[in-house]
């Protein structure tokens, strides 16, 4: 997955996230067109209980809404659920904007949320907000820490009862452009050796 953030001279903006899903997609290549094919249908697996397929396994409603608890078979024309979140934040009163999004499969939302939180509320500048190591919560409720995440915070969370586990690799990458008054800041994630450009 790859994300591009753009802010134009007139203040218009675009956040776009594009993907072939997992690295190299389906690993199927069309030699005459030079095109590598996606494996996006794999994302439909998200809605199925682990260890089973299209057999429904109903669960009772939860207290905040009621999960349907079924593994629906794919429907032609359907789009699979996605973590992609190309987003634009606008503060009309101050003339500020943040154009942001990211890559990294299920890490996208964790990474983008933490970059926004750090930038908007915790006093980080945009570069620091994107560079800061992230944490992620997996579907078993365990916390996964990106390498170099604060040991002090990890210990503190453990003391509060948070379970942690190792994640083999982190592929989170965030790109953002912010406008603060007359100034434009742009950051491409160094995790992927990115570099922004502007004028």
């Amino acid at each position: 997955t790859s994300h591009v953030s753009v802010l134009g001279e007139d203040g218009s903006a675009v956040a776009a996230t594009s993907t072939i899903n997992t690295p190299f997609g389906a690993m199927v290549y069309s030699p005459r067109t030079g095109i590598i094919l996606n494996n996006e249908l794999l994302d439909l697996c998200e809605r199925c209980p682990r260890g089973s397929g299209t057999t429904p396994s109903p669960v009772s409603g939860d207290r905040v809404g009621g999960a349907p608890g079924r593994c629906w078979p794919p429907v032609p024309g359907e789009r699979s659920p996605s973590s992609m979140v190309p987003s634009i934040l606008i503060n009309k009163a101050q003339g500020s904007k943040l154009v942001i999004g990211g890559a990294g499969g299920e890490l996208i939302i964790s990474a983008v949320a933490q970059a926004i939180m750090s930038k908007l509320w915790l006093g980080f500048d945009l570069r620091a907000a994107i560079a800061a190591p992230i944490l992620h919560v997996n579907s078993k409720g365990c916390v996964e820490y990106e390498p170099n995440f604060s040991q002090e915070v990890q210990r503190g969370l453990q003391d509060r009862g948070q379970n942690q586990t190792q994640r083999p690799f982190f592929l989170n990458v965030v790109q953002a452009v912010s406008q603060e008054g007359a100034c434009v800041y742009a950051v491409s994630d160094l995790r992927k050796s990115g570099e922004a450009a502007g004028y």
């Binding site: 591009v4 953030s5 753009v6 134009g8 218009s12 903006a13 675009v14 996230t17 594009s18 993907t19 190299f24 199927v28 290549y29 030699p31 067109t33 030079g34 095109i35 590598i36 094919l37 996606n38 996006e40 249908l41 794999l42 439909l44 697996c45 998200e46 809605r47 199925c48 905040v64 794919p74 429907v75 789009r79 659920p81 973590s83 992609m84 979140v85 987003s87 634009i88 503060n91 101050q94 154009v99 999004g101 299920e106 983008v112 509320w121 944490l135 579907s139 604060s150 002090e152 969370l157 509060r160 379970n163 100034c183 742009a186 491409s188 992927k192 570099e195 450009a197 502007g198 004028y199």
Partner: protein, 387 residues
């Protein structure tokens, strides 16, 4: 008398001239020297995941292209520089803010399920993960029709101009980027790559290409030239699509030209959630904007600030609340099903955007991090960690 009058006029003219010079100087300086620090720009910017593609996007802006033009050019470039990440065989989601209308719209050109697919496809999930190789997982590519729709609605430069920099890159002795090489040498990916049809592109014999190795890719260069000059229909209803379908059928794909022809991007309003001074605009299901909105809306209510991070206990507290919020968010992911294909999910994401649910969740977050998974609606072992 006349001399005195002439002197006055001269003085006035001199004053006007000086004032004009000062104004011109101020305007010129304001355009060239932003008082924003060395890392800031005065006018516009592009952040792609490689320098070369950010530069291409910037060049398009400087040629009076719109932000959509710059985005398309940067994405086309990325498909060549980081082909492990995205490309014409994938899908794209745009969130676009038009300053003139004040509107934010989403173009979702993510891939769709083809008409014919393996009947028990989802029974194969456990075996297929994490890589998901094989033609049975291919969705109908939406990338190019996504570009075309975005360009039709918001483009300013001619379509072909957006492809030229990348075609030049490919025709000019393109080499392997270090990031691509890292993926090619990854111990998990390498055996599958070597066994796949990608071997002919990315391997030199049995060895994956290294950084700065030449990466000749004439087929893609020709495809980009064809799409640039003939438009995207040559892919969705024409000879490029026909070639693609035939090529991948040899690997077991059931994708048809009809699937390609039927593909349409979806244009919808962005989700809109107030976050204090800001408003967050993000893409609705089946994209993840509702979950991101939910997380930030819950966190906003804790009123974290720079002060919260000043002391160790405060930092732990911030991240504890974040972890708890992420657990609740995980329990809500089922709401991201495609509402067009599953009408029961039509309004499933609406609750995620409101203050009522955010408040309820905040009330359920305390100092403990050892609640049962059912507390977060995570009791079922759902999901395979994809997305």
């Amino acid at each position: 008398m006349a001399r005195g009058y002439g002197a006055t006029v001269s003085l006035v003219l001199l004053g006007l001239g000086l004032a004009l010079a000062v104004i011109v100087l101020a305007v010129v300086l304001s355009r060239h020297q932003a008082p924003c620090g060395p890392q800031a720009f005065a006018h516009a910017a592009v952040a792609a995941d490689s320098k070369v593609c950010s530069d291409i996007g910037r060049a398009i802006l400087q040629q009076q292209g719109s932000p959509v033009d710059a985005t398309i050019a940067a994405l086309v470039c990325t498909s060549v520089v980081n082909p492990q990440s995205m490309g014409l065989g994938g899908g794209v989601i745009f969130t676009i803010y038009n300053v003139t209308t004040g509107k934010v719209e989403v173009i979702n050109a993510r891939e769709t399920v083809p008409a014919s697919h393996a009947p028990s496809l989802l029974d194969q999930c456990a075996q297929a993960l994490p890589l998901g190789t094989g033609a049975q997982w291919i969705g109908v590519p939406g990338e190019l029709r996504g570009y075309a729709e975005a360009h039709r609605r918001h483009g300013r430069l001619p379509w072909a101009q957006l492809f030229q920099p990348t075609i030049a890159l490919l025709r000019g002795g393109h080499v392997v980027a270090p990031v691509l090489s890292r993926f090619l040498h990854n111990s998990i990916l390498r055996p599958s790559l070597q066994a796949s049809t990608l071997r002919q592109l990315f391997f030199n014999g049995t060895e994956p290409l290294r950084p700065q190795d030449p990466l000749p890719w004439p087929a893609l260069a020709t495809t980009l030239e064809t799409v640039a000059t003939e438009g995207v229909e040559v892919f969705y209803t024409g000879r490029l699509g026909q070639m693609l379908v035939e090529d991948i059928a040899k690997e077991g794909s059931q994708l048809t030209l009809q699937d390609l022809a039927k593909f349409q991007p979806e244009v919808v309003d962005a989700l809109e959630v107030p976050l204090g001074d800001y408003t967050l605009y993000s893409p609705p299901p089946p994209a993840g904007g509702a979950i991101l909105s939910f997380i930030l809306n819950v966190l906003r209510g804790f009123n974290f600030s720079t002060e919260s991070m000043a002391r160790p206990e405060g930092r732990v507290n911030v991240y504890h609340h974040l972890v708890e919020t992420l657990k609740f968010a995980k329990g809500q992911r089922w709401r991201l099903g495609d509402p067009r294909s599953h009408p029961k999910l039509q309004n499933a994401s609406r609750d995620l955007l409101g203050e009522t649910l955010a408040q309820l969740i905040r009330q359920q977050i305390d100092g403990r991090g050892d609640h049962q998974l059912s507390h977060y609606s995570l009791a079922e072992a759902w999901g395979h960690g994809t997305g």
